[in-house]
Structure formats: structure tokens, C-alpha cells
């Protein structure tokens, strides 16, 4: 059993206040949360029932023109130039007049893009020293998981973490989030984003969202475009699929009539549309995810799945996963909406506050050096049994 009330809140209050700063990719997020002090947390395993109150969830996304990805230099500039304004906006929305009353400042230590992460940590350190508030460095993935657990109340699900930068199947075991399966090359969000660039569709609100909308408009759902299916045991690979579908798209735009998959060999009539490609790509990739998730569920004997990360917003993925779960002794899929699937500061505050409440926080600023690579299983999950 775990005690989450070991460190009392500041000023003899009966609630904790935490601020979370997220900037590992192109989203800059600041969140402020409140946890009431509850007796049930003194000696239990209830870190997914904190009764969190979200006082502010502010986010600004660095969006690039169609056909372009976001480069670290410019993403860092975006975060650097907006971080103070976004923090101030969050404090105002949370109606916090005296920020020195906050219990802990949580920030993303990694994984992610180095320069953008660094810009955010400079602000975090400054506030910590000026306001005299402890810091907690958070693993981005663990942030997603803890937010997912708290919002959905899923007790001990297999977690599918799918985003632009990560694709992992995770299950909790003995103080660690263990990676059961993962991508061997690129993340699924990266695959979708890069295909969106090939198609030159807009990047706002996100390239993945726009692929999803195109897929919905497919009129040929019975006739899937056959793509490579590359599950490898517990893991999966996606770069080959991306390469293949990029070639198909380019042949389509160039009107390469020699491609019999795309154009009728006799009449030259176009057989496949961009919507068809988007639909088939999603069906293919999501089927692979469902397979490796199911494999992990079999290993740990679970029938619950929690999907977190930006790609988790995708309704089709949720549907396919729900179908598989239902077929497995009536299991369930849990997912959050875009406030929390997409990178945000609240999830960092949630994971950071849980860690703080077990008595762990930064003792020396050398512990706050950001890191591009930070595996999910490196974190000691002190707040779970």
C-alpha cells in the first residue's frame, strides 16, 4: 500500500496545487490542478482516484504550413517566446493570486525534442528559485498514462500510447510501466503526419486529424488498398508502409498510368482516391496496433485497454480497439478527449504531483537537465503498489 499524504500541502491547506509545463514537441502546454487531501489516500492503491480539479489547461501549438514538418529550432523559438505568456494566462484562469502557494512545479524532462524541452525548463527553474517551490521532472509518457487513469478511472488497463513521437504498449508491474511492445522504427503519429505532408494537406488543427477526416469520406471502404502488414512478434514496424504509400500517392498525383493498382490498365480510369489511401492506411496501421495490444493483454490477462497520446483521439482507432476488447470477455476500451489526448500541461502536473506526494522531488538542479531519450520504464512509480 502507498501513502500519498506524506507531505502535507503548503500553508496547512487541505488541498494540493500543482502547475505542469509541457513542451516536448510542437505543443506548449501549461496546466494547473488541485488535489484534495483525502483520508483514503493514506494507505491504499488509489492513485487513479485523486478527484482532480482542473483549474487551467492552456495550450498553444506551433503549426507549420502544409507539406512542412516542425523543426526543432523554430519549435524552440515558439516555446521560448510564448512560455511566460502561457504561464501567466494559466495563473489568471486558475485565479491564483499568490503563486508562491503552489506546492510543486512539474515540467517535462523528456523524452522529446531537446531545444524545445530546454526552453521550458529554463522558465521552470527560474520560477522554482524565485517562488521557492520544489520541482519535479516528469516523463512525458508517464504524464499521458496518469492523466488517462485519472480521467477514465481505469484501474489497471493495458496502455496503448500512440502519438507523433511514441508508439508503445505498456502494462504496469511492480513499480514500473513496462514496455510490452513498441515500434521498431517510426511512431504511428509520425507515419500519419509524414503522409499528410506528402498529400500537402493543412497541419491545422493537426495533420492526423485531417487524415482522419479524409478517411471518413472514403466511398470505397469494402475495397481496401493492400498495404504491407508489418507486425513483428510483440512489436511493429511502419517505415516500410510509409515508403510504400508515399510512392502510391506520388504515382496518383503524377498520373502514372503504369501503376495498375491506381489506374485501370485498359481504360486508364482512376481506381483509387486520396480518401481511399487515407482509409486503407488507417485500417492497416490500426489493425497492427490492435494485434500487438491484444498480445500484451493475453500476457497479463487483462481485458481493459487505455489509449493515450494524440493518435488516441482517432475515433476509428477507438472503435477497432473496442471491438477487439468486446470479443475478449467483454472488455472495454478507455480513452480521453482531445483536451487530454493531445500533449498538455495538466498531465504533467498530474504525474508530477503524484510523485511529489510520495516524497520525491528535485534536490539539485543538475537533476533537471532535459533528455531526448527517456524510456517509460526508467521511472520508479512510487505512487502505485
Amino acid at each position: 500500500m502507498v501513502n500519498l499524504n506524506g507531505i502535507p500541502p503548503r500553508g496547512k491547506r487541505n488541498y494540493y496545487l500543482a502547475i505542469g509545463l509541457e513542451g516536448s514537441a510542437n505543443k506548449l502546454g501549461v496546466g494547473i490542478i488541485k488535489h484534495p487531501v483525502l483520508e483514503k489516500h493514506e494507505d491504499s492503491d488509489l492513485s487513479y482516484e485523486c478527484d482532480v480539479e482542473i483549474l487551467a489547461n492552456i495550450r498553444d501549438t506551433y503549426v507549420t504550413p502544409p507539406g512542412e514538418g516542425f523543426l526543432p529550432r523554430d519549435t524552440a523559438r515558439h516555446h521560448r517566446n510564448w512560455v511566460v505568456r502561457i504561464i501567466r494566462k494559466a495563473l489568471t484562469e486558475a485565479k491564483i493570486d499568490d503563486p508562491t502557494k503552489i506546492d510543486v512545479i512539474c515540467f517535462t524532462r523528456g523524452p522529446g525534442m531537446g531545444a524545445p524541452l530546454h526552453c521550458v525548463v529554463i522558465a521552470a527553474r527560474t520560477l522554482s528559485l524565485m517562488w521557492d517551490i520544489p520541482l519535479v521532472g516528469v516523463n512525458h509518457c508517464v504524464g499521458h498514462i496518469e492523466m488517462g487513469r485519472e480521467i477514465t478511472g481505469a484501474k489497471n488497463p493495458v496502455v496503448l500510447y500512440v502519438s507523433g513521437g511514441n508508439t508503445q504498449v505498456i502494462a504496469y508491474s511492480e513499480k514500473r510501466y513496462r514496455i510490452f511492445g513498441e515500434t521498431l522504427d517510426i511512431a504511428i503519429g509520425n507515419c500519419l503526419d509524414r503522409f499528410a505532408r506528402t498529400l500537402k494537406i493543412p497541419n491545422a488543427p493537426s495533420p492526423g486529424y485531417n487524415i482522419e477526416q479524409l478517411a471518413k469520406q472514403c466511398k470505397n471502404k469494402e475495397k481496401l488498398v493492400v498495404l504491407p502488414y508489418t507486425v513483428k512478434g510483440m512489436d511493429l514496424s511502419m517505415s516500410g508502409i510509409l515508403q510504400y504509400i508515399d510512392t502510391l500517392a506520388k504515382d496518383l498525383f503524377k498520373k502514372n498510368l503504369k501503376n495498375k493498382l491506381l489506374f485501370d490498365s485498359r481504360t486508364g480510369e482512376q481506381l483509387v482516391t486520396v480518401e481511399d489511401l487515407c482509409y486503407s492506411l488507417q485500417e492497416n496501421l490500426f489493425a497492427m496496433l490492435v494485434e500487438i495490444t491484444e498480445r500484451a493483454m493475453a500476457h497479463v490477462n487483462s481485458n481493459q485497454v487505455l489509449i493515450v497520446g494524440g493518435v488516441g483521439c482517432n475515433v476509428r482507432l477507438q472503435e477497432m480497439m473496442a471491438q477487439m476488447c468486446k470479443d475478449r470477455s467483454n472488455g472495454q476500451v478507455h480513452a480521453t478527449d482531445d483536451r487530454f489526448c493531445i500533449d498538455n500541461g495538466v498531465m504533467i502536473a498530474q504525474a508530477g504531483l503524484l510523485e511529489y506526494r510520495t516524497g520525491h522531488f528535485v534536490k539539485d538542479l543538475s537533476e533537471t537537465i532535459v533528455t531526448q531519450k527517456f524510456r517509460t520504464d526508467e521511472v520508479y512509480i512510487a505512487w502505485r503498489e
Partner: protein, 87 residues
Amino acid sequence: MNKGDTSFEHSLHLEIPFESIKQADVARKVLLPDPIMKPEDFQVTYSTQDTKLICDFESVDERILRVGVNSVIESIKTIVETIDELC
């Protein structure tokens, strides 16, 4: 760090005046943890003198010096803006 190392042919001395000793010290502590570039090519020493933050940069090359100095000044601007707007 080798102060007398002659391979660091280029150096820049930067002084930033803050409003208080505390602010200068905070700035120093915030900048200190992060490595910038390979120590054999670029080094920076942070110190304070009363209310001033002092950065002493050394580099083998103008280009690396410019990049390193820029990176640190960007961080200092963030520190200044943070204190100005939020503290």
C-alpha cells in the same frame, strides 16, 4: 577547465545587470546545469558580482562562439522575462 589554454583563441565577456543580488544569483543557478557544446570547443563560466551576472565564454572558433553565446543569451532573456512578468 584550463584557464590558460591557448587553444581557446576567442573569448567574450558579458555583463548583465539585474535589480537585486537574488535575481543575479537565480540567473546563475538556472544557467549552470546545462552543457552547451563539447568542452574542448567551447566553455562558459558563470559568476555574480553584486547584482550583476557575468558570463565568460571561450571558444576555438568564431562560429561556435556565436552559437554558444546566442544560446545562453536566449536563456537569459527567458529568465529576465519570467522574473519581470511572474515574480
